[in-house]
């Protein structure tokens, strides 16, 4: 039972890191970026290819995955995304879903559509078991590693958003661009940085998830629903909302599949329906912000 809880938390944390970048762009920047999964896929493939072809150690791949996706995000923000900030949401949806399909086709063409297999380093492969019987806790080392990385990132993000000067500039830019610009904040740079970090986080999520979720060109489409559920349930105005939503969904998904395998795939959706009927704006909504 504890093992299930543990696996659920690990899965939830992974969902969180994949979705948090989307929460940032969608909630803070008010841009519907359905191509988020494509950035995650870039990170995943960077890791896979570096490890398979150049034998780069796993831990070195993670920052590279983050940086590659972040740089790519920055370039695309500057060239393609920025003109769309003021356009209606439907245009943004059409644009970003188109970008996703292009990414899928490009990866399919250049790398091939085979599922890529990551060989983790030995020290991440093992498993530690504590306790006996129903209360036994079995922790896969890789899942433990995921939880640690995600927890560290959450704390760092929360700190940046609420405690630093950049965070307050970002929040000011989001709430009212004109006034923020009048106060001497370079809104363009703030948005550029935010978008790059959001994309980078997606890339890191893809890199971490490659082992558990698998990496193939349909990745952005396959997991788009999960990102969107996390963001919809958690609300888009904070970091803690998506975090708790991701944990809740991860645990519900894993536990549902364990205890009621027949209903397994549907539990996540039922939970989402219940929560959204109860709180249409998501679990945690910042009062006064534009939700």
């Amino acid at each position: 039972m504890l093992t299930i809880l543990f696996d659920g938390i690990a899965y939830g944390m992974l969902l969180f890191i994949l979705a948090v970048g989307l929460a940032v762009t969608m909630g803070l920047m008010n841009f519907v970026n359905l191509a988020h999964g494509a950035f995650a896929m870039v990170g995943g493939y960077v890791t896979v290819l570096l490890m398979q072809r150049l034998n780069v150690p796993f831990l070195v791949c993670l920052p590279i995955a983050f940086l590659t996706s972040a740089v790519l995000g920055a370039i695309l923000e500057r060239t393609l995304y920025r003109p769309l900030y003021k356009r209606p949401h439907l245009d943004q949806v059409m644009f970003s879903i188109g970008l996703t399909f292009m990414a899928v086709a490009a990866v399919d063409y250049f790398v091939g559509s085979t599922q890529q297999i990551v060989q983790l380093p030995e020290w991440l492969k093992g498993r530690t078991e504590i306790g006996e019987g129903a209360w036994m806790l079995g922790m896969g080392h890789y899942r433990l590693f995921n939880i640690a990385v995600c927890a560290a990132l959450t704390i760092a993000l929360q700190h940046i958003l609420t405690k630093t000067r950049f965070g307050s500039r970002l929040r000011a830019s989001v709430d009212d661009q004109r006034v923020a610009a009048g106060l001497g904040i370079n809104v363009n740079v703030v948005f550029l940085a935010t978008f790059a970090v959001g994309s980078g986080l997606a890339g890191l999520g893809g890199a971490l998830g490659a082992d558990v979720l698998g990496m193939d060109p349909t990745f952005p489409l396959k997991f788009m629903i999960y990102f969107l559920i996390v963001v919809a349930v958690g609300g888009t105005s904070s970091i803690t909302g998506p975090l708790l939503a991701a944990l809740l969904l991860g645990i519900a998904d894993v536990a549902g599949k364990y205890y009621i395998p027949k209903l397994g795939a549907f539990i996540v959706y039922s939970l989402m329906i219940i929560i959204l009927v109860w709180r249409p704006q998501g679990l945690f909504v910042r009062k006064g912000g534009k939700a």
Binding site: I117, Y226, P261
Partner: protein
């Protein structure tokens, strides 16, 4: 008036051109090959395409005075798309034979079209037992899951495996594998502790595997579509299930030759039952594997490739037998009852069921020349699809 003359002339001219193309087509024999070339089942498409092209390269593209033309379409494993493409191939391209079909729903979606247009449909991959019953024009050169699953259910109880949990993908072939394995294992005195079904698009196998671990069976029987097997295998090992004394068994999809080497040494010793292994020790197979690798940048052929290769042979032989003259019905009649030596061993297209009869081998993953292979150690001869013997 001039305008009308002009129109009439154009109409006549276009008719004449159309007529001449019809005439030209007379000497072309078209095979519409519908395969998943992108998406999750893409490896299937890639293998079959390579095998079909290899067969054409080896046997020439002119048979009984007809030039063979291969039209390859990518259905991305979506049945609606398969159906639309089959329709286009039949109506616009006027294909003589439909072939390919990566997954069961695609094959089933096309079946009514094959019946209606009297076009033989050669199924080269999809493996649900009932497919051949969906149309009298379907011929199969791959395998059926009951065929593959029954052999391992005979082997397991004799080798100390009594309690088994089954884990299958929740669609046609998975349910077939589950049912026939269960029936045969129970008949042989074993017990099924639990039967788990995994959604087709499943991101994480953790909860299912944990459940298996807690149930502590002697073995876990797994069927997932070709391509997803590696993920299950990896998580199985990471969860330490082999150390907990649980064996992994199943039909050969889980140790697919295409991916076996990437799975790492953890796969060593896994026992499966299947109709084809790249390591099958026969002269025909050695030649096939070598030619396939040479033509495809050292890619190893898997069971999908052999289905495609033999499918092409069935079509070629049928065309030869009808001397290039017959329509759909004649071709179909010539496909039924074909017996020949395939790279997988001797095979036979059963004239009654139009399904394949073949040897099923028991194999164990072993290391040969630094590579992992499914090495055959036992054989059950001439297995007819148990799904048909009602």
């Amino acid at each position: 008036m001039n305008k009308r003359h002009f129109l009439r002339a154009t109409a006549l001219a276009s008719l004449a051109i159309a007529g001449s193309t019809v005439f030209a087509q007379d000497n072309i024999f078209k095979i519409g090959l519908i395969l998943p070339m992108t998406g999750q089942q893409a490896t299937t498409g890639r293998q079959i395409e390579a095998a079909a092209k290899l067969y054409m390269a080896q046997n020439g593209d002119t048979v009984a005075g007809k030039k063979i033309q291969l039209i390859i379409k990518d259905d991305t494993s979506i049945p609606d798309v398969t159906k639309r493409m089959a329709q286009e191939l039949i109506v616009n391209d006027k294909v003589n034979v439909l072939a390919g079909f990566g997954i069961t729903p695609s094959a089933l979606a096309t079946a009514p079209l094959a019946t209606q247009s009297k076009t033989p449909q050669v199924v080269m991959a999809a493996a649900t037992s009932s497919i051949t019953e969906a149309s009298p024009y379907i011929v199969r050169t791959s395998f059926t899951l009951p065929q593959a699953a029954v052999a391992i259910a005979d082997w397991a109880p004799k080798n100390g495996i009594k309690k088994v949990v089954t884990l299958v993908s929740d669609y046609g072939p998975g349910l077939d594998a589950e049912k026939f394995f269960k029936d045969r294992l129970t008949f042989n005195g074993g017990t099924i502790v639990d039967s788990l079904r995994v959604p087709m698009r499943n991101p994480d196998f953790a909860p299912f595997l944990q459940k298996v671990r807690d149930l502590k069976p002697d073995a876990l029987f797994v069927f997932v579509p070709s391509g997803a097997g590696a993920a299950v295998m990896k998580q199985f090992l990471e969860r330490g299930m082999d150390k907990a004394g649980i064996k992994l068994i199943g039909p050969g999809d889980i140790t697919d030759d295409d991916q076996l080497n990437d799975m790492g040494d953890g796969a060593l010793g896994v026992v499966t039952s299947h109709h084809y292994s790249a390591a099958h020790p026969s002269a025909v197979n050695k030649k096939f594997v070598e030619a396939f690798k040479k033509a495809n940048n050292n890619l190893r052929p898997n069971f999908m490739a052999v289905g495609g290769y033999d499918g092409m042979r069935v079509i070629y032989e049928a065309l030869k037998a009808t001397k290039g003259q017959g329509g759909g019905d004649a071709l179909l009649a010539a496909m039924k009852g074909q017996i020949f030596e395939s790279p997988r061993g001797p095979i036979f297209i059963d004239a009654q069921t139009r399904d394949i009869v073949q040897n099923i081998y028991l194999r164990k993953v072993e290391k040969k020349d630094g590579q992992l292979y499914n090495v055959e150690f036992d054989v059950i001869k001439d297995v007819k699809d148990p799904g048909k013997a009602r």
